[in-house]
Amino acid sequence: MASSTLIDRRFIARGVERTGTARFAMWLAPWVLLLGVGLYAAYLCLYYGLNQTNMDNRFAFGLWIFLDLSIIALGAGAFFTGFLVYLIKMKELKAVLNSAVVLGFICYSGAMLVLAIDVGQPARAWFTFWHPNTHSMLTEVTFCISCYLVVLSLEYIPMLLKNRKLRQAPSFLAFEHQLHMLVPVLAAVGTLLSFFHQGSLGGLYGVLRGRPFAFREGFSIWPSTFFLFILSAIAVGPSFLALTTRLVEKVTGKALIPDSVYQRLGLISGLLLAFYVAAKSIDTLVWLNVTSPAVGFAPWEHYSYGQFGIWLMAAEIGLFGLVPAGLLLWPKTRASRGWLMTAAALACCGVLLNRFILTVQTLALPTLAFDEFMTYTPNWQEVATFGLVVAYGVILYSLSYRYLPLFPQEKELAGEVIEEGTHVSGR
């Protein structure tokens, strides 16, 4: 069977070229394998308990919570693009909205998947809804992430029903049409929820009075990390979106969105990143000179242990904050596709580093006078579960790209030059 024959022709929309089913299966095979290994690791952790991981009483949060925070921050592209398209009427981003919603759905469902394994007693997860403690940031995170996952799936369903085979059922077609008409309401609700829980994820650490490294003063009940997390999430969302779309273009060899959309995403990301860097710098200065000394922790103390030196703070704000912001704001570098992608990648790494510092370094640093600095390395079960989420994401995105119309302008751009000089005949 030639690699280009499409067995699943009836599911793929007309006028769009997709690789042969065999070749597609070969692309999915390694990810399915990774998914299998991850599922086995998850089974071990659920069946035998969390002693399967390297976490301990000091490192109650480990690789998984870092993963949760990071993919939810990167998944912020979904609500922010929805917000821009439907509420700010930035129509040109419609080209990338569907992909953003799929990415958002993957990130949030992946985060919930990992949380289900990370929690000691998953069967009691509903207790947070039944006995909510409104003072806790984690309650707010639980409520909002579950609601927003519902909203995301409601935004994902219309795309699902646009599939050529499913569209033939009249009720599906009608439901897809009607839901599509109401999507702006969902986008508004999604934005409200997301602003709250992106903030609360930051608030998780800001309220820790017992951890001076993470504790921050703030505005009424919200610590400053609440606002910094929102800012960093919406700053990095568009970059991650541009990065992933570029990746998909490279893998499939097709032009999927016009260059103007890349420029627009880059500009938005650059502006917000600059604003974030400024806010972050002010917050760090206030923390080092006011908040931390007030509870008896000298500023240099937080950075004098193991490999967690001052370079970490410099990298987070400077290399991964200021540099990408500059690259994205300067029209010449934003115009060049290469620089735009490096800046986007740097911005994403900045958010990952920030989440890592707040999750792992907070726990590593001593608090009592006779505490010692401790380190932690994840074991294979934890890394395999991490791989499980990544594999789940890639597989879901590949399937969505193949069977659902993610990129409305793909047809017009078919045949356009995606690399300098190579004309694409459509593989």
Binding site: Q121, A123, R124, W126, F127
Partner: protein, 487 residues
């Protein structure tokens, strides 16, 4: 009309739509989370009303008073009667279920039977000298062992000396009194100078000194920082093994300052202080404190004639708060180490520490409640914690057995065919003791290396928690599935 796919869908739709109006989802959700609280594989405490009974702990000679919380016929909690128990005491009731519990007679590592053991013992008694070793003389069982020893020809009765008794041997020599009758009257002591003695780490019974310590002052002279050194009011750094030299230096200081009268040690003050590695004025200061805060006593970990002499100079021997003699002590008996070189067999009581055996015994009959260490000879299952009546040697009070021993367990008394005599309460009183120091004793070798290590209850962070056992403290044995011993 044949149901079509659409009908089945409609049926399913109806069911699913209205399932939330039935108790199914809600009751199952509620029960599912309750199920996670009652997993069948999580053990549950014994059901039944709780009652408190009194007994004594038989893990070591201290015989601390016990209040035992009983439920459903099992011991479910321990607490001290007149004071706290030691780190081992609070987990002792769990030791009966220790995976290494011995309930089957074993011979050289192979299971055997009581009959075979008795036959072997009869043969051994007939053929040659047999020694009965008693770990804790002065109990009802000890009398049975002594009668057996007298009755059978060629049988000897031997005891295990605790390191504290060993250390008092030089004082016994000077005072001319059997060492069993000597003891420390720490209840009235104000100042103790300890020469590397682990006073707060289990010396003289795990909690004895700790209970009295708040009322008295400890000065610790030692080479290496120990837990006692940490908590002591004052710590004197000395060279390793130079306890005797310090004692001689102190004796000189006392005599120079006219705080005491008596013969002088051969070695001069300056030389002794130098060997001990202590400044002269610190020695003088120590001497003055010793004299000022009487009643004071000097305790050394190992038998040191110099220390005994110093105590006599101080007037601590025979005085209140120092080293005193008491009546009603068990009759003197040979220590296990003084047994003749060749022995046909030795019967070791369950109170003999698991790693001690007479040197020359060809065949060993050891009573033990737990396996562990060398499996040479006969291992005879003995009753465990609170499973046999025990007497407190000091007061003669008898604590009845509270728990039923498992099948296949016999007491040593029963094995020897004796009967446990009725408890004779011993009203032990302090007897006046006068002692003069004729000449400073020659610096005899300070005896075999003191068994201080045995009594240093190595401090164990409680990752191991309640399974800290007497066995564990002395043996390298890991309870099956038990936690790691973390130095």
């Amino acid at each position: 009309m044949k149901p079509t796919r659409r009908d089945v869908l409609a049926l399913g739709g109806g069911a699913v739509a209205s399932v939330f109006f039935t108790p199914i989802p809600w009751k199952l959700l509620d029960d599912a989370s309750i199920w996670t609280q009652n997993w069948s594989w999580i053990p549950q405490p014994v059901k039944g009303p709780v009652e408190w009974k009194e007994s004594a702990c038989a893990l070591c000679p201290a015989s601390c008073g016990l209040r035992v919380k009983m439920a459903g016929g099992y011991a479910v909690g321990l607490s001290g009667k007149d004071g706290a128990l030691c780190a081992l005491g609070y987990g002792a009731h769990q030791m009966n279920w220790h995976p290494q519990r011995l309930t089957v007679v074993r011979h050289n590592g192979q299971p055997s039977t009581w009959a075979a053991a008795e036959a072997a013992f009869q043969k051994a008694c007939a053929e040659g000298p047999v020694a009965i070793v008693d770990g804790r003389p002065g109990r009802g069982a000890s009398q049975v062992y002594r009668q057996f020893a007298e009755k059978t020809p060629g049988a000897l009765y031997a005891v295990i000396r605790t390191p504290e008794e060993e250390a008092l041997r030089p004082v016994a020599a000077i005072a001319g009194v059997p060492v069993e009758r000597l003891g420390y009257d720490l209840e009235n002591t104000k100042l103790v100078l300890s020469l590397s003695a682990p006073l707060l780490e289990g010396w003289g019974g795990p909690q004895r000194v700790q209970r009295l310590w708040p009322a008295m002052q400890i000065i610790q002279a030692e080479a290496e920082l120990s837990r006692t050194g940490t908590c002591a009011a004052r710590r004197v750094q000395i060279k390793p093994g130079s306890e005797a030299m310090l004692a001689m230096a102190l004796a000189h200081a006392l005599l120079d300052e006219k705080l005491a009268t008596g013969p002088r040690p051969a070695m001069s003050l300056a030389e002794a202080a130098a060997l001990a590695g202590v400044e002269l004025d610190e020695v003088k200061g120590l001497a003055r404190t010793l004299a000022a805060q009487r009643p004071s006593v000097v305790i050394s970990a190992r038998p040191e004639p110099a220390v005994a002499a110093l105590n006599v100079l101080l007037g601590a021997v025979g005085a209140e708060g120092g080293i005193v003699a008491r009546n009603g002590a068990p009759a003197p008996a040979k220590s296990m180490d003084e047994l003749p070189g060749t022995l046909r067999a030795a019967l070791l009581d369950s109170t003999v520490p698991w790693d001690r055996r007479p040197a020359g015994a060809q065949e060993v009959f050891r009573f033990a409640a737990w396996r562990g260490g060398d499996e040479q000879g006969w291992m005879l299952p003995a009753p465990g914690f609170l499973e046999e009546a025990t007497d407190n040697p000091a007061t003669g009070a008898r604590a009845e057995a509270l728990l039923k021993p498992p099948a296949g367990v016999k007491t040593t008394v029963a094995f020897l065919g004796g009967e446990l005599p009725a408890a004779q309460p011993v009203e032990s009183a302090i007897v006046p003791l006068t002692c003069k120091l004729a000449a400073w004793p020659s610096a005899a070798p300070n005896g075999q290396d003191g068994r201080t290590a045995a009594w240093t209850a190595a401090w164990t962070p409680a990752v191991l928690a309640p399974l800290a056992t007497k066995l564990h403290q002395e043996s390298k044995l890991m309870p099956a599935g038990g936690g790691r011993r973390q130095a």
